[in-house]
């Protein structure tokens, strides 16, 4: 490639970086812009809950697929519940026990609720499992005051749909007017079961339990074949609505237990973010200053390459998007320090070649060629660390590993492509005034 091509590319790179930088900036200053950084719970505040699911019912290996299905169903139920709770962008994900890990590690469900810091409320909402049961009141001999209930086998499992209605005055006894009624429609199986129970037990009381509490115990007048039961009494319209909602969401397909929780208040998160940004700006400033002072004009090239790198990474964060966490910011800062490494390696080689009497162009070419092996080997080992970190992965660690790994790749690209293009593009200038480019590299 000739010089003109390198110069054209330099201009293109600078324009592109400028454009990206400008769009990042404008997205930040206008709060209603669509593209915004996505911040993790530790920076915006919120709750992170880990549930352990008891899938022991599917313990044998042939049932692993069934366990996966149950976990997916569980995820859906919990997600519906968090959505109803009014959390913006909740994250509910299944963490399957991996083949690598111990076989006795349970399947887990991870729930992230940004902005929710009232953990007690959140836990209650997620853990709510309405259990609907129909039981017959047994005819007890003697004068026992405690009624005894017989299981009928009819439960919320046979529920097709629940809906809320209000009793009308017509056809109802006075006093029940406008009372909220929860109508329970059974599925085909439930309909049959319900018909059978009512047919065989006319004149007995059928008690309806919700979460173990007796809701009502009406007397069966006749066989009910329509497949609809009515729950009445002891609730307000609001409670009725909630009951209908919970019944429709359904019971959890797998029992769950809270294994770990984490809550960060919004003020602490904001503080961490602000401080992280401040540390980043100062750190970047120091690195740029060092490169300019130590390497002079080539230092300008390195500084430009570093700025291109920072813009590139921030664009990746915003547009992919990558969730930014405190650890992610730390990883990014670290990668800024290390991104210069490739440039330093190249410049030190370049300096050596100049010292050995090579021309500017030769020194650039040889500097790159010789610096490539250590750049490749060094970054490869860092990449190994990043990949293992990602695998190690709780979500915090993965955020860091992803940023760090992307940073390594991006820094290699900027060092090898951007710095090189800039340096070659400058070679005409270097021939005219050699002292300018070699200012920092006294022979």
């Amino acid at each position: 490639m000739n010089l003109t091509v390198y110069r054209a590319w330099s201009v293109i790179i600078l324009l592109l970086a400028g454009f990206l930088g400008w769009s990042l900036y404008s997205a930040q200053v206008s709060p209603d812009s669509e593209s915004q950084f996505k911040f993790g719970l530790d920076l915006v505040g919120g709750s992170h809950l880990v549930y352990e699911a008891d899938t022991s019912a599917f313990a044998s290996s042939t049932n692993r697929a069934q366990a996966a299905e149950a976990m997916a169903a569980l995820r859906d139920v919990i997600e519906t519940r968090t959505n109803l709770f009014g959390v913006s962008e909740p994250l509910v994900q299944v963490e399957r026990a991996s083949a690598l890990a111990n076989t006795d590690t349970p399947d887990r469900l991870i729930v992230e609720l940004p902005g929710v810091t009232d953990l007690e409320e959140a836990v209650k909402m997620i853990g709510a499992t309405p259990q609907l049961e129909f039981k017959l009141v047994a005819e007890v001999e003697g004068t026992s005051t405690e009624p005894v209930y017989e299981d009928t086998g009819l439960t919320g499992r046979y529920l097709k749909r629940a809906r809320l209605e209000f009793s009308s005055t017509q056809g109802m006894q006075a006093g029940f007017a406008n009372e909220p009624l929860v109508m329970v429609d059974f599925n085909a199986e439930g309909k049959e079961l319900f018909a059978e129970i009512t047919r065989n037990n006319v004149n007995r009381q059928l008690a309806i339990f919700l979460d173990g509490d007796l809701k009502s115990d009406p007397v069966i007048r006749e066989a009910i074949t329509g497949g609809t039961a009515v729950i009445s009494g002891n609730f307000t319209a609001e409670e009725g609505r909630e009951l209908v909602r919970n019944l429709n969401i359904g019971a959890l397909p797998v029992p769950i237990e809270l294994a770990s929780t984490q809550t960060v208040g919004a003020t602490l998160g904001k503080d961490i973010l602000d401080k992280g940004v401040k540390a980043g700006v100062i750190g970047l400033g120091l690195v740029l200053a060092f490169m300019l002072i130590w390497y002079r004009v080539p230092g300008v090239v390195a500084a430009l390459a570093l700025i291109v790198y920072v813009i590139m990474m921030l664009s990746i964060f915003m547009y992919i998007p990558v969730t930014v966490t405190a650890a992610g910011i730390a990883g990014f800062l670290l990668s800024i320090g290390m991104a210069v490494d490739a440039n330093v390696l190249i410049f030190e080689r370049f300096k050596e070649e100049l010292r050995n009497g090579a021309s500017y162009e030769d020194a650039v070419q040889k500097g790159f060629k010789r610096a490539w092996a250590p750049i490749r080997d060094g970054n490869f080992t860092s990449l190994i660390s990043a990949i293992i970190l990602f695998w190690f992965g709780t979500s915090i660690v993965q955020g860091f590993a992803l940023v760090f790994g992307l940073g390594i790749l991006a820094s290699m690209i900027t060092a090898v492509l951007v710095t090189r293009t800039f340096l070659v593009a400058l070679s005409g200038v270097a021939d005219k005034s050699p002292s300018l480019l070699q200012g920092g590299f006294k022979k």
């Binding site: 590690t105 290390m338 080997d377 860092s382 190994i384 660390s385």
Partner: protein, 317 residues
């Protein structure tokens, strides 16, 4: 080169530091965070810091069954960090009631509860992760340096050391680079209650990659100079080759460490409280990684070569 010529003294110095770190680890041990041990941690802020004994009494009188030992440490401007066994939601509400001193401007800043199984699992995973990284790096270095001796002509090449030696020396140096920050943590754990949490393990894994990077750059120069000598048919002792390679690379090593320390340092000084120890671990690791690649890795190559050569000579004579 200074480091190669004075390697005995330098080995003694580094050995002393490493021994001190091992001693601190053996004597005090590490304080692991709740992510690894299971438990509950709460950070609370007040407008004015209440008395520690007063708070401890309130926690005691919350009478939570089998609460056992707990630790209360001052944090931030006027806050506390409370660490207990893992408590249930109901028990936590009782604890919170005890912490919420009336009229003190109480605010719960963050809290976390980790069950014991998750903690144990994470701990095992951390060990495995570090082990896997170390193994992969040995293999990678041995692979990258596989042609360091020229055996292609069928004749055994005895210049320098074998490719495996480069890998093993790199790992030896790595272990040193991990020992120094770990030793520091044992020390800090006793005196300021610093805990080894997931962030610290992340920092350690990052140091693994960084340190080996630093070592590899020097080894790479040794490899290049060995090749050049072979081509130019220059007779040079291995110690001299390593010495030259070091003089050619130390500027880069120091410059890269400086730029990395700039960012890690500003994270340590200006960054939020959650990343303080993370930044400190990285800073220590970067420092240790730098001096160890210059003063330990390269001189070790020479020492191993010398020993192997003497052994060979005594066998052949």
């Amino acid at each position: 080169m200074f480091f190669v010529a004075n390697r005995q003294t330098i080995f003694a110095l580094i050995g002393f530091l490493a021994l001190a770190a091992v001693g601190a680890l053996g004597f005090w041990g590490l304080r692991f965070g709740i992510e690894f041990t299971g438990g509950t941690i709460v950070e609370v802020a007040y407008e004015e810091r209440p008395d520690k004994e007063f708070l401890e009494e309130r926690i005691q009188s919350a009478s939570i069954e089998e609460l056992g030992g707990f630790s209360l440490r001052a944090s931030g401007d006027a806050g506390y960090i409370l660490r207990t066994r893992d408590v249930s939601e109901a028990e936590y509400q009782a604890l919170k009631g005890a912490l919420a001193v009336p009229n003190a401007g109480f605010e719960e800043e963050r809290r976390a509860t980790v069950g014991p199984t998750i903690g144990e699992e994470l701990r095992n995973k951390a060990f495995v992760a570090i082990g896997v990284v170390v193994l992969l790096i040995i293999f990678y270095v041995a692979f990258a340096f596989r042609n360091v001796r020229n055996d292609e002509d069928g004749e055994e090449d005895t210049t320098g050391v074998s490719s495996w030696t480069y890998g093993l020396v790199a790992i030896f140096v790595l272990i040193h680079d991990l020992l120094i920050p770990l030793g520091l943590f044992a020390f800090l754990g006793v005196f300021v209650g610093a805990e080894v949490d997931v962030l610290i393990v992340m920092a350690l894994l990052t140091i693994l990659g960084y340190s080996v990077n630093d070592t590899i750059v020097i080894f790479d120069r040794v490899r290049e100079n060995l090749l050049k000598n072979r081509e130019d048919r220059v007779e040079e002792s291995f110690a001299d080759t390593v010495g030259h390679s070091l003089s050619q690379t130390y500027a880069r090593s120091i410059n890269t460490s400086l730029t990395t320390l700039f960012v890690v340092g500003s994270l340590l000084v200006f960054g939020g409280s959650t990343t303080t120890y993370f930044a400190l671990t990285l800073a220590t690791g970067v420092l240790a990684g730098t001096y160890s690649s210059l003063a330990l890795a390269a001189p070790l190559l020479v020492a191993v070569e010398e020993r192997q050569r003497k052994k060979r000579e005594s066998v052949s004579s």
